[in-house]
């Protein structure tokens, strides 16, 4: 830590004292984010990157309108300038703010929260981490047909201090770990195939260095390389309407794009209309819309251990808790902030997060948990007469109403008469969100369930990059358009 807690508290008190006189609500947030990234690319270790970002922000509500200012400059004059700027901005906001902002009530907390870790990644030597990357690369090197191979390790420690004029004072230390590998093979100037593990963006979790070993990277490199080589001669993906089974990482993306984003309540109210779009899942459909088939149950739970969006409190001081979103397929909740929740007359679901000290909290995907079902992957496959199994995200696109989507995967296998058949390359499928989720005919079991971390979810103006998680096992859907 570059600053001691007592110094941060001093700034917080100064800020709150100065702003409270003029504003109905004030919060102060300090963040220090330490990051470390190592990577290897086709045998060459990239320069190690270590970064530290330290700064603070002040958010005020004055006469029902928001103001926000942030800075990385630490001195007394700057603290005062930042407060005054936030207030001046709130006064300007009021010029075009016919409906005053109200906030859903929240309890006041005086608390500390920390990710539980066994091994602090920042205590592991860089040399040991480099050796791990080299060991993965050595396994890829056994396959001379590959044109490229790569691996990465990514560690982050986030310290947050939050204090509000409503009496909350919370500090949190969150720790994230990520790792992954991929390899590529060039068939021709027009065709190149990639295979990645654990997913195309690796795997990310909240936790310590011990988590990396649980990803199983070393055990899957031979399979990846073999598949990449085989993809050169694999047949093209068949086209038509058929049954599909999604791998857990692909299911994670499907949940993220077509359940997570549509249920962000700020988007539902139109906050993203000019950028990442709106949502078909409007409040008039709450408690009515059969969003998915009855076997689908989804909830938000930032208190769920180990997820990349696991935290004690969101950036408005709302305590993390399990909140249902889809129950037996029916839409029953949203991912909300205090402001958006108040518009529905509901409590906040604790989903307001900023991607650092320089941004305002907005409604974000948290840990989205799709409750496991009962079937194993093998059982699911055995029930399919004609279909395709799709694995590892390659491409995705969804319209600005979060309905029409097209997804591509790195690889697939035909399913014929209950058995996995030939490998196919460049598979893709498309659909419309509600129709697609209502065609979900099987949800995989807890034994094959994984909480996938997504380190790069973009949203907002200015753009913010959130860390989210989606928990899923294998999912099966019927009558899906493939190709």
């Amino acid at each position: 830590m570059t600053m001691e807690l007592k110094d941060i508290q001093f700034i917080a008190d100064l800020v709150l004292l100065r702003a409270k006189k003029q504003c109905q609500y004030v919060d102060f947030r300090f963040e220090e984010i330490e990051s470390e990234g190592l990577s290897i690319d086709t045998g060459t270790l990239a320069p190690i990157d270590e970064s530290t970002s330290v700064g603070y922000c002040v958010r005020v509500l004055k006469n029902g309108a928001w103001g926000f200012a942030a800075s990385c400059v630490m001195d007394l004059g700057e603290y005062e300038r930042v407060v005054d700027t936030a207030i001046a901005i709130a006064e300007a906001s009021k010029l075009v703010a016919p409906a005053p902002v109200t906030l859903a009530p929240v309890e006041s907390y005086f608390d500390s929260y920390a990710t539980q870790v066994k091994i602090d990644p920042f205590n592991i030597s860089l040399a040991e981490k480099q050796d791990l990357l080299r060991s993965w690369e050595a396994l890829f090197a056994k396959y001379p047909d590959l044109n490229s191979s790569s691996g990465f390790l990514d560690f982050r420690k986030i310290y947050k201090y939050f204090k509000s004029s409503e009496g909350s004072e919370i500090d949190q230390t969150l720790r994230h770990c990520g790792a992954g590998v991929s390899c590529g093979i060039v068939k021709s100037r027009r065709e190149r195939f990639e295979r990645s593990f654990p997913s195309s963006s690796g795997q990310y979790v909240s936790g310590g260095y011990e988590a990396i070993a649980t990803f199983g990277i070393e055990d899957n490199i031979e399979r990846l390389a073999t598949e990449a080589v085989a993809m050169q001669t694999a047949k093209p993906c068949p086209t038509g309407e058929m049954t599909i089974i999604l791998s857990p990482d692909m299911a994670s993306l499907q949940i993220h794009e077509s359940i997570g984003h549509p249920l962000e309540l700020d988007r539902v109210f139109g906050a993203e209309r000019n950028f990442s779009g709106v949502s078909f899942a409007t409040p008039d459909k709450l408690d009515k819309l059969q969003y998915a088939s009855e076997i689908v149950n989804v909830y938000s739970d930032p208190s769920f251990p180990g997820g990349l969006a696991t935290y004690g409190y969101d950036d408005e001081g709302v305590k993390a808790a399990r909140m249902p979103l889809i129950e037996q397929g029916k839409l029953v909740g949203y991912l909300s902030s205090r402001e958006t929740a108040a518009r529905l007359g509901r409590p906040s679901t604790g989903a307001a997060r900023a991607d650092g000290w320089s941004n305002v909290p907005i409604c974000r995907i948290t840990n989205l948990i799709l409750e496991p079902g009962s079937k194993s992957f093998a059982e699911m496959v055995s029930e399919v007469e004609n279909g395709i199994y799709l694995e590892t995200v390659a491409s995705w696109s969804i319209d600005d109403n979060r309905e029409n989507f097209q997804m591509g995967t790195e690889i697939g296998w035909e399913i014929k008469n209950g058995k996995l058949g030939d490998m196919v390359n460049a598979p893709s499928y498309s659909g419309s969100t509600v129709e697609f989720w209502n065609s979900c005919s099987s949800v995989g079991s807890r034994d094959e369930w994984v909480l996938w971390g997504t380190p790069n979810c973009g949203k907002g103006q200015p753009g913010q990059n959130a860390r989210t998680a989606q928990g899923a096992a294998y999912l099966r859907f019927e009558k899906v358009k493939v190709g």
Partner: protein, 446 residues
């Protein structure tokens, strides 16, 4: 507001703390303000000062990089020390030769306007009010973002490099929409906020929204389309991601591989990376301090080359073109100022030349399908219209595209003579509208 001398002096204190063979300090930063609105109401409204210092230390070809947001001499000393320690642990990189030396002089050019730098939240709010009022009679709502920024870049290295630049920009993007799904979009980008015509932008978006009421569906197929400049820019940006940087070229991930000197687009397509274009006036040097070169990427449809930083220039036996990104990036060199040559037509002439086709305002969620074939997907958005008998006739529902960008740029018989600045993902493009034949559009299920 950061001052040149103050920043350069603080950065240079880092050299004394370095035991590396070569040391580089880079500052990037912004004084940024943004007013975001939706439902015709200001929602988020912010101002921030955010600066990052990157230290790069090289000892015996071992490279270490560290970054900090602290601007004090103490922070600089610490980050340099950290970079030196990391360098000791790195494997020597035999491909690294040297940091660049200071070569060439910057032309004194104004890219920073006090009107933009000092824009108040009140002025932004008044702009938002103009936008919000524009559609009120039609019962339309406004949403968007009005931002002003001053960007800073300063580079020093132990070989004598010393560069500083700051530039302002104002950007207003807005969507006008109604209860029945109609919507229209417009975007303005200028270095000088006084040059931004907010009533015109608002009026354009209102007009599009009004005319997009009660859309019809059309069948999937190949259409002759008119792409407004923003739509062209979105395709150009992805084309750039997929092939104009040297790293992707070397890794055989670029569609340019094996094509240099070959015809890859129509003869009327010329794409130049040009930070000094008088309309664009981009950051004049890269994040290593090397002056940006004017780099033809595609000239009269022929693939000409890619951009380099000093590291990849050495590997390729070429000179750096001045396109390094900050040293912690994984992407290698990339263009940031893309200029597409104009055509000779007016937009009206282009529309008038089409018997049956589709008019596209812009796209949403473009993503790769096959980068080597420059295939992308995405959907149209905020103003998609049918063209019949040379006129925009009626609104249509948004369509999904599945299109090779180079194929589109090979079948573009008309380009507009006027061009528009279009910024996205820190790249600014100067692009015309384009008529494309045989553009693949699919009905979007919903």
């Amino acid at each position: 507001m950061l001052e040149r001398d103050q920043i350069i002096e603080v950065l240079k204190t880092g050299f004394a703390k370095s035991n590396a063979d070569q040391t580089e300090l880079l500052l990037t930063g912004e004084d940024f303000s943004l007013t975001r609105f939706s439902e015709s109401q200001i929602r988020d409204n912010l101002s921030r000062s955010e600066y990052t210092i990157y230290a790069r230390a090289i000892k015996d070809k071992q490279i270490g990089i560290a970054t900090t947001t602290g601007l004090t001499e103490e922070s600089v000393a610490k980050v340099v020390d950290q970079a030196c320690k990391i360098a000791k642990l790195a494997e020597p990189d035999p491909k690294f030769v040297s940091l660049p030396k200071m070569e060439g002089e910057l032309k004194p050019e104004t890219t920073s306007y006090p009107q933009t730098a000092d824009c108040t939240p009140k002025r932004r709010a008044e702009g938002v009010k103009t936008v919000a009022d524009a559609g009120r009679d039609e019962k339309l709502e406004a949403s968007g973002a009005f931002e002003t920024t001053t960007d800073y870049v300063a580079v020093v290295n132990s070989l004598g490099m010393e560069r500083f630049w700051n530039g302002t920009a104002a950007q207003l993007s807005l969507t006008i929409s109604g209860e029945t799904g109609e919507s229209g979009w417009a975007l303005g980008y200028n270095r000088n906020i006084d040059d931004m015509n907010i009533p015109l932008l608002a009026g354009t978006a209102v007009d599009k929204a009004v005319h997009s009421r009660n859309p019809v569906s059309i069948e999937s197929g190949q259409y002759t389309v008119i792409l407004e400049p923003a739509a062209v820019g979105q395709l150009l940006l992805f084309l750039s991601f997929m092939g104009f940087g040297c790293k992707t070229f070397l890794q055989h991930r670029s569609f340019m591989v094996g094509k240099i000197g070959a015809q890859i687009a129509g003869e009327n397509i010329t794409i130049i990376e040009d930070a000094f274009n008088p309309e664009l006036r981009g950051q004049p040097f890269d994040y290593e301090g090397v002056l940006r070169q004017r780099v033809p990427l595609i000239e009269k449809g022929i693939a000409k080359g890619v951009v380099y930083d000093s590291y990849y220039a050495n590997i390729m036996g070429a000179e750096s073109t001045g396109h390094a990104l900050p040293p912690d990036n994984q992407f290698g060199p990339y263009p940031k100022n893309l200029v597409m040559s104009p055509g000779e037509s007016t937009l009206e002439e282009m529309v008038g030349s089409i018997e049956r086709g589709v008019y596209i305002t812009h796209f949403w969620y473009i993503n790769y399908l096959n980068p080597m074939q420059t295939m992308v997907t995405g959907t149209t958005r905020d103003g998609t219209f049918l063209i019949e008998n040379g006129k925009v006739s009626k609104p249509i529902n948004n369509m999904r595209i599945a299109q090779s960008i180079l194929e589109a740029f090979s079948n573009a018989p008309m380009l507009s003579k006027t061009r528009t600045l279009y910024p996205q993902y820190s790249v600014v493009m100067l692009v015309p509208a384009m008529k494309v034949e045989g553009f693949n559009l699919e009905q979007a299920e919903a």
